[in-house]
């Protein structure tokens, strides 16, 4: 698009790109740099592990993420398969009904959620976070999966049926293996949203031993006041899993985050 790449134009682009990326690089650099200040890197990071329930928070977030991913995955595959390949009355109506929830923010549901959680005695229970998260994530994951499953050739499913496979057998042996690309997107989407969720744990997991990693900054600020380097050490640690996951599965993350926008 930009004609021949002469030496001058290459330098020009390199400099321009560096300047444009700086507003993103600098804050990321600062986060790590500040965590090394004060008592020093080793002391700061050690303090996070030894003086705070950080490991416990990490474990809680892992449970919430694993639970959400499992539930979203199961509901999505079953529903996506049914909506994409099975014939039944009211299919379009049910699909539209699920899609209506596509953009609804969980914060708009805090009053009823609060009352429901109280009613079912789910305060300080992981389910109080996992279930609403699943409900909010499903419209998007079902939309993506249904659109993907529709593209699987009917001949493959018919062949399986003629071979005597049950509907469920077809789902497990044909649809799931062929849907791997979209399954990766669904899992990434569910992981990202559950790991980064702030509001629901804030509302429903008030016991310190049950809080999620996103509560760490608040917990630290109230407990350790302004020991900024230690807070930043905790920030680095809470971001590490998701950054490592992103770097390892870049294309899935990029597709996972943009798939909803492109469909």
């Amino acid at each position: 698009m930009f004609g021949r790449s002469t030496r001058r134009s290459r330098i020009f682009y390199q400099v321009l790109a560096t300047i444009m990326v700086a507003p993103f690089a600098l804050p990321l650099f600062w986060i790590v740099a500040i965590s090394f200040e004060g008592a020093g890197a080793a002391a700061n990071y050690a303090a996070v592990f030894t003086q705070t329930p950080f490991v416990r928070f990490l474990f809680n977030s892992l449970v919430i993420s694993a639970g959400t991913i499992a539930l979203v995955f199961a509901c999505t595959m079953l529903a996506g398969y049914a909506l994409g390949k099975l014939r039944f009355a009211g299919r379009e109506l049910i699909f539209t009904a699920i899609l209506a929830g596509l953009m609804l923010p969980a914060v708009g549901l805090i009053v009823p959620l609060f009352i429901m959680v109280k009613q079912f005695g789910l305060f300080n229970n992981y389910l109080a976070v996992i279930l609403p998260l699943t409900a909010v994530l499903l419209p998007m994951t079902i939309l993506l999966t249904r659109n993907f499953v529709i593209g699987i050739p009917d001949e493959l499913l018919d062949a399986a049926r003629i071979d005597g496979a049950t509907t469920f057998g077809t789902l497990i042996r044909i649809v799931v293996p062929l849907s791997r690309p979209i399954i990766a997107v669904v899992i990434v989407w569910a992981f990202l949203n559950s790991w980064n969720e702030f509001l629901l744990p804030l509302l429903f997991l008030q016991e310190t031993s049950l809080q999620a990693v996103t509560q760490i900054p608040t917990y630290f600020t109230s407990t350790y006041g302004s020991d900024v380097p230690k807070i930043f050490a905790a920030l680095v640690l809470m971001c590490l899993p998701i950054v490592v996951a992103y770097l390892a599965f870049q294309s899935f993350f990029e597709r996972g985050l943009t798939a909803g926008a492109l469909k």
Binding site: G3, L78, M103, P112
Partner: protein, 312 residues
Amino acid sequence: MSQTVMIHSHQRPKSARPVSTRRRRQRELTAYLYLLPALLAVIGITYFGVLYNAWISTFDWNGIDPDPESVGLGNYLKIAGDPIFWSALAHIAIFGAITVAVQMAFGFSLALVLGGPIRGRAVYKAIVFIPVVLAPAAVSTAFRQFLRPDGQVNDVLAALGLGGLQHAWIADPDVALFALAAVNIFQWTGFSFILYQAALSQIDVNHLEAAQLDGAGTWRTILHIVIPQLRPTHLTLILMGVIGSLKTFDIVFLITGGGPGRSTEFLTTYIYKQSIMQFHVGYGAALSIVLLGLALLLTVVQTRLYKLEKEA
């Protein structure tokens, strides 16, 4: 379950018609069964939540009183006359306009420039996209520090000779909303960038070469050929940005808490304060219904637009 269904239908292959209708009915039953978990979650939580919200919104309720007073549409009338509600909408509009415009322009420029002859493109790309995957809670905490009067942002401004632009970003009600917009831009430009990058790779190269052969410069090619061809991406980003600003909660709650004063109050933070902190549960529910209504309206607009785009 479906196993038994199939065996059952094999066992009785009597006359053709009844079997096929029975089989069809059984297959329909299987389909409904498969939809049950998803429907339980979506209807049991989202739909029920919305309806429950609507019902609660007709009461003057503190969340505890077993016999709350019904006020009909009173809460909605109160909203219509609530200056905090209207200023929250104005904040969302300003925040949305700034973040959408800047993120689009910035993301597009990055996609263009990083499409040029660059060494270490993958690293640049990762740096721009990493903020998108970070927890807003972490980003907010970091920026609370960066935006302090003696923080990193003011240091950079001073180093660039722009000391006159230094502010107490979070404490000054005149600039706090813009500071929040900047944080949002840091976090979400990578999203616009990736979408534009994907869209740019789809553009017909012949078109561009033809334009350049015709003597159109780089700028004119971008302006008259590239930008119009990216129309669907622009639309997507505008809609997602508007919906996103309506939903924004974490960064506002954690950086300014809606303050100083009410200068950065959003609908979401107002709902949180009313229903959780001040026990105005009925009023909070009514505000939630307004928020959900706006979100639903935008979803409908979005799906309509996509349909129009596909047909065009």
